[in-house]
Amino acid sequence: MKKTVVVGMSGGVDSSVCAYLLKEQGYDVIGVTMQIWRPENACDVSYNGGCCGLSAVDDARRVAEVIGIPYYVMDFREEFQKHVIDNFTSQYVKGRTPNPCIECNRHVKWEALLQKSRDIGADFLATGHYARITQLENGRYTISASKTAAKDQTYALYALTQDQLSHTLLPIGEYEKPDVRRIAEEAGLPVAHKKDSQEICFVPDGDYASFIEKEDGIAVPGPGDFVTPDGTFIAKHKGITHYTVGQRRGLGVAAGERIYVTNIDPATDRVTLGADEDLFTSVVIADDVCWMGLEGIAPDEKVRVKAKIRYNHGGETGVLESAGEGKVKVSFDKPVRAAAPGQALVYYDETGTYIYGGGTII
């Protein structure tokens, strides 16, 4: 019997081609777009071409028509609000820099959407990520790099469980972006030339601080002090939600040399400004650890890894070991720049091909 797969369709070219390829491979394909926007900002999201606005629904529906698959919109506003938006704002007001795509993948796509897909009788969930799923010799499933180094979307997928991975298909990982566009064109998909989405989908203008201020029930931290690394007062700042570790622009502070945000302390509302070299660190510690290619790590075990500290980080080699209490640490061979608390530390095998696991930088 044909296996059934739900394809999460964002209206973009990658997920559209994903649906097309699976149909060609003989699956019984169902297209689904997650409704995550709220009525009051639906227009903003769609006008700004975010990935999951109303215009995305129109595009995805047209693609489904062309491919000839049933298409549905499913409501995940509650889940998205709770796991992604609320988490995003609460982390930001604590001076951290969350990655909402990770939370969305973990809790909305691979928990809520996968659950609903299986409810309606699907065997698999598929998405248009540039990543592959591999079963390692130890029997464990892992996310591995896509065919092309130019596109790598493995980082935001580190938190998936073995059960989730065993019910997931990622066909786009076998292709390069130009191939995907070519396939879309040849198949006559109306989104072949649609441009890629960039910013965080629910903050299309990139202004996180104003987004957070507009959220209900959030006590936004007020102005505080910019200080030097030794604690000397420099100037007042607008509030910690306006800053991220590593930020240089928009500080409103004139200084002789280039200065950067090197630390954010939510307890005192102090933002430390320092030189570029103050941003470098050799050891990064993470908690809330998820294991993927590796089942775990013994207390005295050391594993050579390549690790990334943010989405577009190329990765740096180092040694992974336990830091106790469920935490892990990576001691990098060369110091890494601007490891921001709240971002993920994702560690791969030493070649950077397979995800071993990951956690949240503390």
Partner: protein, 403 residues
């Protein structure tokens, strides 16, 4: 395919289709022109006006064709406001012009109206009008006394739907209209009859209400045509301007085939109404009895077996505990059964139902809502098949979610 979503739209009736055909081909004359070809169109439009008027006991000159129910509802609310402002200014009272002070104006409607009414009411609020949204009882009923209690000195409109699109409750609209007019002749009473027109007997409604909206595609007519009944003598300006069609009250070249189809569907429904109602009521009771075999099902709205006076004959609205309506609908679709969770929405996604909320359903109950709206075209075999498949789906979903 088993079609059980007749509140969303209906299949076109043969008689309506046949009546429209000539006007989609040879009879293309603009009804406003002077030559013979145009006169055919004009006659056909007048005939349709009569056919549509008959359903509610109105005169043909009280029927104004529109593009559908939403336009009619928008026009009723906004037109009533414009008329009230005009009357005020003719009486030399300009205080309403200045927002916030003096006359702001006030309308009364309900929390369970269609969005065409609710969004228009919100628009009026943005113009400075106060709006009372009456809360229904647990079966969805609005009582005349509630309406009377809400009346203020500056109230100019009451808008209460004839029958609810989600839960099928038939409101005591004529009683409400009579009660309002009993104490205040100057207040206009509008009813959104989109779900009721051609479904239940509305004969004589024109003698009670001032304004009534209806839509052709809910009773076997084509999409894109509706009407607003405006009682003779009510001062009411246009919403759409730019031509003298519809006695100068609704500009735009007449949608002749649509209007003709509407008229034919109206006449058809009027003629066979009793038979249709008893057929639908029997099918509704049959399906509900079978759904009743599933445990933990709540029926939304009033329900008495055999009754079609308090609930639309073809309407079934239920909340099934332990399932998500959204998943059930998709599974029904995959077996060829067309149903709905509530009202249809352009994005295709489910909106949290303001109606279910208003009658007191908790959020987790409302999540399991399903609506089946039957027509006399459905058969007993279809109903039995649908009940059987639905039961299987509910058991499967509950097992997965360990309900």
């Amino acid at each position: 395919m088993i079609y059980l979503d007749n509140a969303a739209t209906t299949q076109i009736e043969e008689t309506a289709f046949d009546a429209m055909l000539p006007f989609l081909k040879g009879e293309y004359g603009n009804a406003s022109a002077v030559y013979e070809l145009a006169r055919d169109s004009k006659r056909a439009v007048f005939n349709a006006r009569k056919q549509c008027a008959n359903v509610i006991g109105a005169a043909p000159n009280e029927i104004f064709f529109t593009s559908g129910g939403s336009e009619s509802d928008n026009w009723a609310l906004i037109g009533a406001y414009e008329a009230w402002k005009k009357k005020k200014s003719e009486h030399g009272d300009r205080s309403f012009v200045h927002s916030g002070q003096g006359y702001s104006g006030h309308i009364i409607t309900t929390a369970i109206e269609h969005h065409a009414v609710l969004r228009s009411a919100e628009y009026l609020e943005s113009q400075g009008v106060a709006v009372s949204y009456l809360k229904p009882d647990c079966e969805g009923f609005i009582k005349p006394a509630q309406v009377l209690d809400a009346i203020r000195e500056d109230t100019f409109l009451v808008s209460v739907m004839t029958a609810n699109n989600e839960i099928g409750t038939v409101e005591p609209v004529c009683e409400i209209a009579d009660a309002v007019h009993g104490i205040r002749k100057d207040i206009l009473v509008h009813t959104d009859a989109v779900q009721a027109y051609g479904q239940i007997c509305l004969d004589g409604y024109a003698g009670h209400v001032d304004l009534l909206s209806a839509s052709a595609h809910k009773l076997g007519g084509p999409k894109g045509v509706g009407m607003l009944y405006i009682r003779d003598g009510v001062k009411f300006g246009p919403l759409i301007r730019g031509g003298m069609q519809e006695s100068g009250r609704r500009a735009g070249t007449e949608n002749v085939p649509g209007i003709v189809g509407f008229g034919a569907a109206a006449e058809n429904s009027f003629a066979g109404l009793d038979a249709k109602i008893s057929a639908e009521t029997a099918l509704r009771d049959r399906l509900l009895a079978k759904i009743g075999d599933i445990t933990d099902v709540i029926i939304n709205g009033p329900y008495v077996e055999g009754d079609s006076a308090k609930r639309l004959p073809g309407n079934i609205s239920v909340c099934i505990r332990g399932i998500e309506g959204e998943s059930a609908l998709i599974m029904l679709d995959r077996t060829g059964i067309c149903a709905s969770a509530g009202s249809a929405c352009t994005s295709g996604a489910r909106e949290p139902s303001h109606v279910l909320k208003a009658i007191g359903r908790a959020d987790d109950e409302a999540k399991g809502s399903l609506r089946f709206t039957l027509s006399h075209h459905n058969t007993e075999e279809e109903i039995d098949k649908a009940a059987e498949i639905l039961t299987e789906i509910v058991l499967k979903l509950r097992e997965r979610n360990r309900f």
